[in-house]
């Protein structure tokens, strides 16, 4: 554990699945040097197999201990390494020259067929019309308080920074053994075959150190991401996670104690056989519990209660916090002035 922790809250109700964050991250970090296939930040449609394909069944994390849910044990669960073509998807290149500047009927295509990608299941989801449903789940390294990757590295190449809790792989220490890739239950560490080492989201520390928020958060045009110190009681992370309890970690059962939190998604009602709205949200409650743990029901109830206050013209601090009237207010990075 670090002495302080920078945390992110992603509001799944505000995420519109536009992938601007994905590309903000891509052009900031992963458009070069063997990282082309990597998406340190991506957005997947849920339910679905996600990215890398089937990551939720690829192992990793801590064996559940005897303690409270989410606390985890002290033994790592085995995990498997995702494959390039089948699980990540190739970073396809296209035959522009042949299709556009040479004669012939050859259409513009990936030079190698694509089998998967970071957004392969876009808007597919589950259910049956008219009760189909999907929502967007942006994912990045969770900069866990109890990182399985760190524990799994025999070379101690992974560290958690004391001053901000950012989990980093030392590129000069890493020799690409990939125990961390297997150990991460979110499969958010990627092996760079060109560099021969593993890499991952660095929470944009070079930006954060200069007071510029993470590319994925600052450039989120849906204004879905808040960043603040977890101990800053005026910050969105503390308020949404601890005060209002509407922001929850993803798959807490892996025991790594993530520091990226999610405001779970509301959804319109299903229709009955007559086409009449039932009042039951179309995203099944048990599915959300499987992602965000048992706290999700209370979180959704709180959101609905506070929205109802606004509908009646009453004030709601929670809603104002989630609305975020000024983009700049969503980020409280200042290390000194953050203690209330």
């Amino acid at each position: 554990m670090s002495s302080r922790q920078l945390a992110m809250v992603i509001d799944l109700n505000k995420c519109i699945g536009c992938q601007t964050c994905t590309l903000a991250c891509k052009s900031q970090w992963t458009d070069r040097d063997g990282r082309e296939f990597m998406y340190w930040n991506h957005v997947e449609s849920k339910p679905g197999k996600g990215y890398p394909r089937d990551w939720e069944n690829a192992g990793g994390g801590w064996e559940s201990g005897a303690g409270a849910a989410g606390s985890g044990g002290d033994k790592l669960k085995p995990g498997r390494l995702p494959r390039l073509e089948e699980d990540y998807g190739i970073p396809a290149d296209f035959n522009y020259d042949a299709a556009l500047f040479q004669e012939g009927e050859q259409p513009l295509r990936p030079m190698q067929p694509m089998q998967w990608g970071p957004n392969w299941e876009e808007d597919q989801g589950a259910g049956e019309f008219p009760n189909g449903y999907f929502f967007y789940l942006p994912r990045l390294c969770n900069h866990c308080t109890k990182p399985a990757c760190l524990a799994a590295c025999p070379r101690q190449a992974i560290s958690k920074r004391e001053e901000d809790g950012i989990v980093l792989i030392d590129p000069s220490r890493c020799r690409g053994y990939r125990y961390c890739v297997a150990a991460c239950p979110y499969k958010k560490i990627y092996f760079n075959p060109l560099a021969g080492r593993s890499e991952k989201c660095i929470f944009c520390y070079p930006r954060v150190e200069k007071g510029i928020p993470q590319a994925c958060a600052y450039q989120c045009v849906g204004r879905a991401r808040h960043v603040s110190w977890l101990d800053d009681k005026a910050g969105a992370a503390w308020r949404l996670v601890h005060e209002w309890k509407v922001a929850l970690p993803l798959h807490p059962e892996h025991g790594t104690q993530p520091n990226v939190y999610y405001v779970p998604p509301l959804s319109t009602a299903t229709f009955d056989a007559e086409g009449k709205p039932t009042g039951t949200p179309r995203i099944p409650a048990d599915y959300l519990v499987s992602l965000f743990g048992p706290g999700v029901q209370a979180a959704l109830d709180t959101l609905r209660r506070e929205i109802a206050r606004k509908e009646k013209g009453e004030a709601s601090e929670l809603m104002d916090l989630l609305i975020a009237y000024r983009h700049g207010d969503m980020f409280r990075l200042d290390r000194l002035g953050s203690q209330p």
């Binding site: 670090s2 509001d11 109700n13 519109i16 699945g17 536009c18 992938q19 994905t22 590309l23 903000a24 052009s27 458009d31 290149d93 296209f94 522009y96 556009l100 040479q102 004669e103 009927e105 259409p107 513009l108 295509r109 067929p113 694509m114 990608g117 808007d123 597919q124 008219p130 025999p154 070379r155 101690q156 560290s159 004391e162 030392d170 590129p171 660095i202 520390y205 070079p206 930006r207 150190e209 600052y218 450039q219 989120c220 045009v221 849906g222 204004r223 319109t268 007559e274 086409g275 709205p277 109802a308 606004k310 509908e311 009646k312 609305i323 975020a324 009237y325 000024r326 983009h327 700049g328």
Partner: protein, 920 residues
């Protein structure tokens, strides 16, 4: 235990214990507070990523927006290193206009953010290319600029001489929407008197329902108004995909207690964020709209004072002819544009002030109290009584035909939803009804939009109370001398495309005459007659061009019945020139492709887009290296002007008179002169406008809505704020969202309609004949000959065909076009995930892959639009299976405000074709 002691024998046992070491912290590598201690500088390796970050930040910075076909208009910073663009990031510096309304940051989406890649992508046109093989074959020869412009100029002058001025089409499409970069082609075309198409109608983006009601097609709100609304209806608009920079206002409005109704046949990203999704069956929206009206009328959820003053609902209409009662019905030589109400104050028939023919140019009723309902007799000019009633009665009677319980059969929407939606609309202090660009892709869209306007009128949603929203635009006066110095041939977009592409042929093939007749009241011959009439009265069609110079217009991708259209349009051309930064489908079929600069390379400015109040500027990063031989549009037009001048002089032509346009000079009128020899001086205004920077500086100086800002102000953050003058029919207040029609609602200024009011009765013979003089419902037109409805909503990963071929965006899709099918339909057809399929009908076919989607209703083939045809097998795109279709309602020309102009033109109807699908 002494470790050394166990190493001696190198036995397993000893080692095993010794190996306990690594399982404990390694002294040599133990981290204290994350620091590696081994004599290294602590964490020096962290500089690895810091250096990368600084490299992307570069050594020079500019500003840009990405308005290729896009209505986003977002300010970005552009970083460059060693003369090459490295990255872009939203400027995120727009000021908050009001502390109670979220600010507009950070505007900019997934398309803008990949433009640094697009700039250098291998489909970039780097040099002037001349076609060598057959058109479309893809055989090119690199030529010099000189060679290209000289040859083009020779053929331009040739056609002007031989075939007349109208034979030249010089058109800037929606690929450039900004005032800076559009100015070049507009100015050159204007000086030459060339044809240009009205882009909004050429691409099918006219809101004719709004034009009927308001005399203006694009009306509405700045989109921050969403946050203030309590009811929002998103009708045929997938805002989470097509309004990405503004969609946050919807989510924030939801948190602010708004009901958000999303009306769309497929469960999309916007339905996902709504509070209520209305899964209307495709093309049946007008039935839903009529049911909304039904509930409003039935339950008297009507603001009578508003309706009496602001609408034509109290106008009297004749029960015998169905026409509005006019002055000429009562008096010999009476006026055509004076209309009447039944005044309850005096129990008499009184003319309504504010109509086009009334001397009083105000909506103020004074002592008049126009009746809304009733039947009366008035004495006609021949002394005979005329039975009259009100438009209100007629509209109410029409709505009475569509109770929610009955339209359910057409729409599939449960009556409870309709009832609740109507009540939400009526009770909200501020309600906004957004009509998307999808709506008018159906013939019935005109009616749906018109009915939605009526619903807003009944519930008094206008001005600060919200109301209909098609798309708000700012008024940027003062541009005329730059972009239109001389009158020229402004052509109807949809009608020109219809004629040039011989679209009637595929309409006749796809829609049986009897079907057209029963659904529309006109068969193919009837529509052709309407077209001939339109051609005669509108003066908006100038014949098939012989030479086409196209700037940023991908008409061969866009137009329906793709292969058929292409053959008809391209084959009759002597020369097709495309000015483009990338090789799009139209470029692929051209005779010359001239390399244009793209978003980051030339100066530019955009301020007319009214979703927000910011006028953005493009300033290239200092030292940016040229990309190939690309030139700005302004430079290209200047090069063409110089070449045309040289060619004209060579042929001894000084100028060509254009008697179609007269200019007044003193007390004499003479034809406009097309000054070929002097074209460069005219184009540059005698050297004042040499390049794109000069143009931007001119605009900032001469457009009143931009005052008092200078380019230097804009260069601080990439934008300036437009002023109060920018509002068309309301002031733009510094601290409030913009709402249309405040001048009408509060100052009682007449609307630019025949009635001077929001108009809900049109007695043009076509509207009377079809039974649509007031909003009503029309069934979808797709024929029963093929089982699947086919529609193509706007794409998330492109702005039309722009960025559709971008590598980084294609990697976030599946690399090639996919259709979306309901999983049950897919199973029924033996089609699995990713299978190759053939989509076909009697117009044509195309091949794609299948993506089963529970979000898509059964009986539908849905596909995000505007893939380049060359992304499909045989290079035949999705429009190949879309029939031509034209609407009789939009062919009306010459009735009050329904006269060809930027607010009254039609659409190419895109969503009315039926297809079948099979495994390929």
């Amino acid at each position: 235990m002494e470790r050394r002691a166990f190493l001696k024998g190198t036995t397993y046992c000893g080692l095993a214990l010794a190996f306990g070491g690594p399982l404990m912290p390694l002294p040599a590598f133990a981290r204290e507070g994350g620091k590696v201690s081994r004599g290294d500088t602590p964490r020096a390796w962290e500089d690895f990523y810091r250096k990368e970050f600084l490299a992307t930040r570069g050594d020079a910075q500019g500003f840009a927006f990405h308005c290729s076909n896009c209505q986003g208009n977002c300010a970005w910073r552009v970083f460059a290193k060693d003369g090459r663009v490295t990255r872009e990031e939203q400027a995120a510096a727009y000021p908050q206009i009001n502390p109670a309304i979220p600010d507009a940051n950070p505007r900019g989406c997934n398309k803008g953010i990949v433009h640094s890649k697009q700039t250098y992508q291998a489909d970039r046109v780097l040099f002037p290319l001349k076609r060598m093989g057959r058109r479309g074959e893809g055989k090119w020869r690199r030529v010099t600029w000189q060679e290209a412009v000289d040859d083009i100029a020779a053929r331009v002058v040739d056609t002007l001489q031989k075939n007349g001025l109208a034979s030249l089409l010089l058109h800037c499409g929606t690929g450039i929407l900004s005032q800076g970069r559009r100015a070049g082609p507009l100015r050159l075309g204007s000086l030459l008197g060339a044809q240009r198409l009205y882009p909004a109608s050429a691409v099918g983006d006219m809101f004719t329902g709004a034009s009927l009601a308001y005399g203006i097609a694009t009306i509405g709100h700045s989109l921050d108004a969403w946050f203030t609304a309590k009811t929002i209806v998103l009708w045929g608009v997938n805002a989470a995909v097509t309004r990405i920079p503004d969609a946050h206002y919807l989510n924030e409005a939801r948190y602010n207690g708004a009901r958000i109704w999303c009306v769309t046949p497929e469960y999309n990203a916007t339905a996902k964020l709504a509070t209520d999704w209305v899964p209307v069956k495709p093309g049946t929206d007008s039935f839903l709209a009529m049911s909304l009206l039904h509930v409003l009328f039935r339950d008297q959820l009507i603001d009578e004072a508003f309706v009496r003053e602001q609408t034509d609902l109290p106008f009297l209409l004749r029960l015998d002819t169905g026409e509005l009662l006019r002055h000429r019905d009562l008096r010999d030589k009476g006026k055509d544009d004076v209309f009447y109400c039944r005044d309850e104050a005096t129990n008499s028939v009184q003319p309504m002030p504010g109509t086009q023919g009334h001397f009083k140019k105000s909506l103020r009723l004074g002592k008049l109290k126009p009746a809304l309902a009733g039947r009366w007799q008035v004495k006609g000019r021949d002394g005979n009584p005329i039975e009259v009633t009100t438009v209100f009665e007629r509209a109410r009677a029409e709505a009475a035909k569509f109770p929610p319980s009955m339209t359910r059969e057409q729409t599939g929407v449960h009556p409870d939803l309709v009832e609740r939606m109507a009540r939400d609309l009526a009770k909200a202090e501020i309600a906004i009804v957004n009509i998307g660009f999808s709506m008018h892709k159906y013939v019935s869209g005109t009616m749906t939009c018109w009915a939605a306007a009526l619903a807003c009128a009944l519930t008094a949603h206008a001005g600060e109370r919200g109301g209909l929203d098609t798309e708000n635009n700012w008024s940027l006066g003062g541009i005329g001398p730059l972009s239109g110095p001389k009158p020229a041939r402004f052509a109807s977009g949809f009608f020109s495309e219809w004629e040039n592409g011989d679209m009637a042929a595929t309409m006749r093939r796809h829609y049986p005459d009897a079907h057209l007749k029963s659904a529309l009241g006109f068969d193919a011959a009837g529509l052709a007659a309407l077209g001939a009439q339109f051609r005669k009265t509108s003066n908006a069609y100038f014949g098939k061009p012989r030479v086409a110079l196209l700037f940023a217009d991908n008409l061969l991708q866009r137009n329906k019945s793709e292969a058929h259209y292409r053959k008809a349009f391209v084959e009759s051309l002597d020369l097709l020139v495309n000015v483009n930064h990338r090789m799009d489908t139209t470029a692929l079929w051209s005779d010359y492709v001239l390399p244009a600069k793209s978003q980051y390379e030339s100066w530019d400015l955009r301020g007319e887009l009214g979703y927000h109040r910011f006028c953005n500027i493009t300033v290239p990063p200092k030292g940016l290296k040229a990309i190939g031989e690309a030139k700005s549009e302004w430079e290209i037009c200047l090069a063409l002007a110089e070449a045309i001048s040289r060619e004209a002089k060579k042929r001894g032509i000084e100028r060509i008179p254009d008697p179609d346009f007269l200019v007044q000079s003193g007390d004499k009128a003479g034809p406009v002169m097309r000054e070929l020899a002097n074209l460069p001086a005219e184009f540059t205004d005698n050297g004042a406008l040499k390049n794109d920077e000069d143009v931007v500086r001119w605009l900032m100086k001469n457009v009143p809505a931009i005052a008092p800002w200078t380019p230097e102000d804009a260069m601080k953050h990439g934008f300036v704020t437009v002023n109060r003058e920018a509002g068309f029919n309301s002031p733009l207040y510094a601290n409030r969202p913009f709402h249309s029609f405040e001048n009408n609602v509060y100052l009682r200024q007449p609307y630019p309609t025949l009635s001077g009011r929001q108009q809900f009765y049109v007695d043009h013979p076509v509207y009377l004949k079809t039974g649509c003089p007031t909003p009503t419902a029309l069934p979808p037109l797709r024929p029963a000959s093929f089982p699947f409805a086919f529609w193509t909503p706007h794409a998330r990963h492109g702005i039309h065909s722009q960025w559709r071929t971008n590598t980084w965006l294609l990697r976030l899709q599946r690399g090639e076009p996919h259709i979306w099918l309901n999983p049950l339909d897919a199973r029924g057809k033996g089609i699995g995930e990713g299978d190759a399929v053939r989509v076909f009908n009697d117009v044509g076919e195309f091949f794609a892959r299948a993506k089963p989607m529970p979000a898509v209703p059964p009986g539908a083939v849905v596909m995000d639009h505007a893939w380049e045809p060359y992304q499909f097998r045989h290079k035949l795109g999705l429009n190949n299976a879309v029939a031509g279709l034209i609407s009789p309602f939009e062919l009306v020309d010459g009735w009050g405000h329904l006269k060809f102009n930027p607010n009254w033109d039609g659409n190419m109807l895109a969503f009315e074709s039926a297809v079948d699908v099979e495994k390929a």
